[in-house]
């Protein structure tokens, strides 16, 4: 019996994933635990390992395809082994059964229904609840066009309802799910695309044909200008996610940034004082980021407005403080989340954040490690940056930018004095927080860092 490869549910919030790349081809052998393919969720890129050893018999999901979790995307088994009949009816299923008779869309006849159902689904038909069958019958649509989201890909009544709603919005154009996603992403007007699928359904290949034409024209144009002055690297999946989220945040939130200079003399002394003890206890060196996260978490407890999210119907004030820590990697930025940071002692913050950063560097972060932040800290101090305006990590209402600690001459009691100074920059979503409370938060955070014993 061939074993299913499924789109995993890699986190509580994960509903769908994109197949980025298959690392094995059909017919290749895989060992248990060997990376099989790469997927991306809305938060993270990850490799899926083979659960058993065998031959990759069949790949059911194309690269770039977005599928609900638990969808069967391939099979592993013995060479030549017969595959079970397809259990799911995801977007691909409807594509595999189309005949190339591009006739105008006509109401589906009973024969169509029968033909459609006979060619897809599990043994003896299609896995669908009685309620979904009744609705499909009444609406005159073939169930094979509907992607099931129930257990084992079962089509639920809600799936048929969603299909009908989609169909209405797409002005009755038949479009495969994949084709729709590609055209949405590339801004192609579907009404201009001639469908070659069953009953004129627009398939992904139709959209790709149009897209290829456009791209090759663009390529020709650019070729004539400059052949070798630059090169285009296709957006990686991580970059795409970053681009999307940052754009959304930047263009939806009216922001402003508050900068404040902090004298880090006492914080530095504190760090030196606790360093050996924390190193002995955790095996990690305490960093300034750790101390800043500790103080920030405490300050957030006192200023709930900064630890909030704009949600539909109001502002959600979080009772818990989950601090996201921005970690830069060559492929792009990730933000693992330190949960309940306000409940943690410095020692716990050190060990928990180091573990998260190690995971980030080894690409081992799970979506759950990266969800639920209520506030984010971004430190660029190691590059000597003096101040910057970070972009808010939505749905947070604010983000703290941490710059370098630089020895500067400052006036202390009227005398010039060299002190280790650091600038903190708080970018605020003005829809949620006004200037005064944001400034008060920064003032308090400055106080905590300049007089850490005040916390005692």
């Amino acid at each position: 019996m061939a074993t299913e490869v499924i789109m995993p549910k890699a986190g509580m919030a994960m509903e769908e994933g994109t197949v980025v790349k298959w690392l094995k081809k059909e017919g290749e052998t895989v060992e248990k635990g060997e990376p099989l393919l790469e997927i991306i969720t809305d938060k993270v890129n990850m490799e899926i390992e083979a659960e058993i050893s065998g031959t990759l018999l069949k790949i059911l999901a194309d690269e770039g395809e977005v599928l609900p979790v638990m969808t069967v995307i391939g099979y592993i088994g013995a060479p030549g082994e017969a595959l079970p009949e397809e259990k799911n009816a995801p977007s691909t299923a409807s594509e595999t059964v189309v005949q190339s008779n591009p006739e105008a869309k006509a109401p589906v006849s009973g024969a169509d229904l029968a033909a459609d159902e006979a060619t897809t689904g599990f043994e003896g038909g299609l896995r669908a609840t009685p309620a979904s069958r009744k609705l499909a019958r009444e609406a005159g649509i073939a169930l094979s066009r509907v992607a099931g989201t129930g257990p084992k890909g079962r089509i639920q009544k809600s799936d048929v309802e969603a299909y009908l709603a989609d169909e209405g919005s797409a002005e009755s154009t038949h479009v495969s799910a994949l084709a729709k996603r590609i055209s949405d992403a590339e801004g192609i007007d579907l009404s201009q695309v001639k469908g070659t699928g069953h009953a004129g359904k627009v398939m992904s290949r139709d959209v790709m044909n149009i897209l290829d034409g456009t791209l090759s024209r663009q390529a020709e144009a650019s070729d004539t200008v400059a052949a070798n002055d630059s090169y285009v690297e296709p957006l990686s999946s991580v970059r795409k996610v970053i681009a999307k989220r940052m754009t959304e945040s930047f263009f939806t939130a009216p922001t402003f940034t508050l900068n404040i200079d902090v004298d880090m003399t006492e914080a530095a002394a504190l760090r030196e004082r606790v360093k050996p003890r924390i190193l002995a206890a955790t095996g990690y060196k305490v960093t300034y980021t750790d101390i800043i996260v500790l103080m920030t978490a405490q300050a957030l407890k006192k200023f709930p407005a900064v630890n909030a999210s704009l949600v539909e119907g109001g502002i959600e004030y979080h009772n818990r403080v989950h601090v996201g820590i921005a970690v830069g990697k060559p492929e792009g930025l990730v933000v693992p989340v330190l949960k309940n940071a306000d409940q943690m002692k410095l020692e716990s913050i050190v060990s928990a954040s180091k573990e998260l950063i190690e995971k980030a560097n080894k690409n081992k972060l799970k979506p759950d490690d990266m969800s639920g932040s209520t506030f984010t800290v971004s430190n660029l101090g190691m590059y000597g940056i003096s101040h910057f305006n970070p972009i808010i990590n939505q749905p947070n209402s604010a983000i703290l930018g941490v710059s370098a600690i630089i020895d500067k001459v400052v006036a202390v009691n009227g005398e010039p004095c060299v002190r280790p100074m650091m600038t903190l920059s708080l970018t605020i979503d003005h829809r949620v927080v006004d200037g005064a409370p944001g400034a008060a938060f920064m003032q308090y955070l400055k106080q905590l860092l300049e007089d850490p014993y005040g916390l005692l």
Binding site: T129, P130, A131, S132, K134, G150, Q156, K157, S158
Partner: protein, 327 residues
């Protein structure tokens, strides 16, 4: 309305009917002077005397036989089996005599008897004193089977059972005896046999449940309500004749059904209710398989932890609800 326990409601129903109709008599083991093994009949011996409240020998065969005989000759006996488990010994009189007479005598005989059967686990009484055997009686045409789950239901249905001209097996759950509830005090408070009650209205899932599982189903409904699942709880109250219409209409509304009972799953009445739903016109409305949640297929263990584990818990009911909602 007056707050009383399930046991008090049963006593009230019997006493009211005995005051109203001199033909109503009550018999069973230790129900007289002692007031019943569970204290249900305390004070009745004093009120009605030894002729109408009769202690019997420890013989369920005698109890059921005497009740059937008295009923067919004009009395309206209420007979109590101390434990439903010992209905095994009463079976012949009940199944081959009481249930058959009206049919075999072409309607000339009637058998207006009530057999009260304390049933169910949860009292630490082990395998021979804890069973829920209602499915056996549901399988015998000629018997009515009633399973009240609240004090008010117990009173209204027992009065209806006493007034009914057919043999009624009245299943009481021992663990419900101390449960309190508001009960109408009127003499004419009667609940129709064969009528289900919607104990909680909802739109997402129908839970059909009777006996002490009702309370658990209601608790589970409150838990999943916080997750946005709106549960309808239907209590059939009478298993035979079953109010199919109410159940089917509810499932047509919600599209999902779970049947819960304490009795063991295999061959249990939950299966019958599930089948009624599946073969009805509610079929086309089903958006999930019909689930049964019932006792494990084992004798009730004496170990208190195991005893709790073999019957459906609030969490198991909540989980089943999430399962049919694909959550």
């Amino acid at each position: 309305m007056k707050e009383m326990t399930y046991a008090e409601a049963i006593r009230a129903a019997m006493s009211e009917e005995m005051r109203r109709d001199p033909d109503v008599i009550f018999m069973g083991e230790d129900i007289g002077l002692y007031g019943g093994a569970f204290g249900v009949s305390v004070g009745m011996f004093e009120e009605f005397g030894p002729d109408r409240v009769r202690d019997t020998p420890i013989s369920e065969a005698v109890i059921a036989g005497a009740a059937a005989g008295a009923a067919v000759t004009g009395m309206r006996p209420i007979a109590e089996l101390m434990f439903m488990d010992f209905s095994t010994i009463a079976m012949d009189s009940l199944v081959n005599q009481a249930a058959k007479m009206r049919y075999m005598f072409g309607g000339k005989a009637k058998v207006p008897m009530v057999l009260r059967c304390p049933a169910g686990s949860g009292t630490g009484a082990a395998a021979q004193h804890s069973q829920s055997l209602e499915a056996w009686f549901c399988h015998v045409p000629g018997l009515k089977v009633v399973t009240p789950s609240t004090p008010a239901d117990a009173k209204g249905l027992l009065k209806a059972a006493i007034r009914d001209d057919n043999p009624v097996v009245f299943v009481e759950q021992k663990l419900l005896y101390r449960q309190k509830g508001m009960v109408p005090e009127e003499d004419d408070f009667i609940l129709e046999i064969g009528k289900a009650d919607i104990k909680r209205e909802g739109s997402d899932v129908t839970v059909v449940v009777y006996g002490r599982m009702l309370q658990r189903a209601l608790e589970a409904a409150e838990i999943v309500a916080k997750e946005g699942i709106d549960v309808e709880v239907v209590d059939p109250m009478t298993l035979v004749p079953l109010d199919k219409e109410t159940i089917i209409n509810s499932v047509k509304k919600t599209g999902r059904a779970i049947v819960v009972n304490e009795a063991v799953k295999t061959g249990g009445y939950a299966g019958e209710i599930a089948a009624v739903i599946a073969e009805s016109d509610a079929f086309d409305y089903l958006d999930a398989p019909v689930l049964r949640l019932a006792g494990k297929d084992v004798p009730i263990p004496y170990n208190p932890d195991l005893e709790k584990a073999v019957v459906p818990s609030v969490n198991e009911i909540a989980d089943a609800i999430r399962t049919v909602m694909n959550r």
